[in-house]
Symmetry: C2
Subunit: 337 residues, 2 copies
């Protein structure tokens, strides 16, 4: 940690944003923004310029603490998660995010050092995934609110609507960790053995390298990221592609299964109706699957086949010897508790 950062954090500690003032917040934000060398406007002007040619890929999301921060989530993790949810959209479309525009809403009673942590989480996550924050501003709001828009490029974005019957349905990781991790956080089940489940909700990571590699190789026919859960992904891929799915090998995370047993939860809910796993859900022609799997293996990742696309539009999963007809209900905002 540099001396400058230390003294910044000292002046910020135990002082609220109302005490520190908007100018203080803005000075921290503006100092951290990446200048665009080709731009005719300087950092901090009313708008920012980005160089571009051809088609740009744009995606945004908003993080609200009341909905998106599980109990115990730290400001740095909130900042990171806000970026991750947008980068995950880019990953699903095989697009590289280059620029992030970040707008904050912060409560006046938030402490200055909490803001600095939150902002560091945003900046670091942006860079981790190959982009830079080029514009940022702040507003006063009732809760921590982080609006992120990413702008990037893709040689050939993978749509939701390209799955064909016979394609292999595959995912980039196991499911169930966020569902059980949330349960653990809300019920204060903080034992060390559940640490990986809690890590899944506090420190999610997007599959950007995997998405870009699959995109470059042009092996996937359809792709989506699992922000609303696996069932919602299958429903969307089905709706956009006009196919159905048979899930013969549900990607049940072993530790999540242990947790489900220990707390008498529903494994179907845990695997299919979690959400925010930020895994990719892909369809890949049968003849290309081995090549795709070997590309991801080269990245130290996995491509896990879980079933197959079918001509009729129903979605069926086999779990523990039982057959489930999935109806598309995933995690939704505005749902009854």
């Amino acid at each position: 940690m540099s001396g400058e950062v230390q003294s910044m954090e000292e002046e910020a500690r135990d002082r609220s944003l109302v005490e520190l003032g908007e100018d203080w917040i803005l000075s921290k934000i503006l100092k951290s923004l990446k200048p665009i060398s080709e731009g005719r406007l300087q950092v901090g002007d009313d708008a920012v310029e980005i160089p571009s040619s051809g088609l740009l890929v744009v995606s945004g999301d908003m993080f609200f603490a009341s909905t998106d921060a599980p109990p115990g989530m730290k400001p740095r993790q909130m900042g990171s998660k806000a970026i991750v949810s947008v980068v995950s959209d880019f990953a699903a479309k095989a697009a590289q995010p280059l620029y992030f525009i970040v707008e904050l809403g912060l409560p006046g009673k938030m402490r200055g050092d909490e803001f600095l942590e939150l902002w560091s989480g945003i900046l670091e996550a942006g860079r981790d995934y190959g982009g830079e924050v080029v514009a940022g501003d702040t507003n006063q709001a009732l809760e921590i609110s982080i609006g992120v828009v990413g702008i990037g490029v893709s040689e050939k974005p993978i749509p939701r609507g390209g799955a064909r019957p016979g394609d292999i349905l595959a995912v980039t990781g196991m499911f169930g960790k966020t569902y059980t991790g949330l349960h653990a956080a809300f019920h204060s089940n903080l034992e060390e053995r559940w640490r990986p489940l809690l890590d899944a909700i506090y420190n999610p990571r997007p599959r950007i390298r995997e998405g870009l590699a699959i995109g470059r190789a042009r092996l996937a026919t359809a792709s989506i990221d699992s922000s609303d859960g696996l069932e919602a992904c299958l429903f969307e891929l089905s709706r956009w592609s006009g196919v159905g799915f048979e899930v013969t090998d549900p990607p049940i995370d072993p530790l999540a299964r242990e947790y489900v047993s220990a707390y008498n939860l529903d494994v179907v809910e845990a695997v299919f109706r979690g959400g925010e796993e930020y895994e990719l859900v892909l369809t890949i022609p049968r003849e290309s699957f081995d090549e795709a799997a070997s590309i991801l293996k080269g990245l130290g990742s996995r491509l896990i086949p879980i079933g197959e696309a079918k001509p009729d539009r129903s979605i069926v999963a086999w779990i523990d010897g039982k057959t489930y007809h999935l109806s598309g209900r995933g995690w939704r905002h505005f749902s009854h508790p």
Copy 2:
């Protein structure tokens, strides 16, 4: 109003967003998005593509009801204001907004018809100012939150830092209406005579045509929009350009002055420390002023000279025979009440 809209509004009336559900909200949003004809991704996919070449101008802002909605503001006006604040940034930079990315945060108890009004306000304002909403999503939040990022183009954006000593300082409208309008709204002074003041806060309009015309003619050396008030504008132009300002003819709106007298308010506060007037504050070389004024006259608008840029960096205003040294304090978030 079309039959479809009527029936949409009927199903929405008196039902909360929790009752209607996220899918209902999203279907209204997605149906309204402008498809990008060149895009390889369809509307509603995880990302949107925009065609581009050269430098794009990008600017964003967030609207939070707790901070940005005066008492009595309707959902449609909130949606419109969220767009206006971003378009005003484009106006100041002489840039045309083309695409808007809109992310919502909505409270679960909001009624469906209120959401529809809010969303209509967003769509209509976007089109009014030459852009289209190309991506939108919704989240649950504690208060109405509207994140808008605009993407557009400019032949030659006008920076904040180009003012030179001797330039004429000019504005596109009179000041004081929003300060007094807010006072009227908070104190329920709703008499008909104050209607234009209330209109200034409920239905703000950006000076996009004016900004684009001035930009095309390349007559302004520096430009900013008055979202944080006139004093903050002068402070920013001074800081970025390394000049000071002498304001010899403060742009005091006559009705605002009447209101100030009627309620014993401070006219300096009203004119310099209001905010969200969304007027342009420009510096223009003396020899170009008449041409610039005549261009705006051709649009049915005014370019009002209020003073001059000076070599030393102080900011001085003459009002009613008194001299005021302005220190840069404008309207700020996170300020003590």
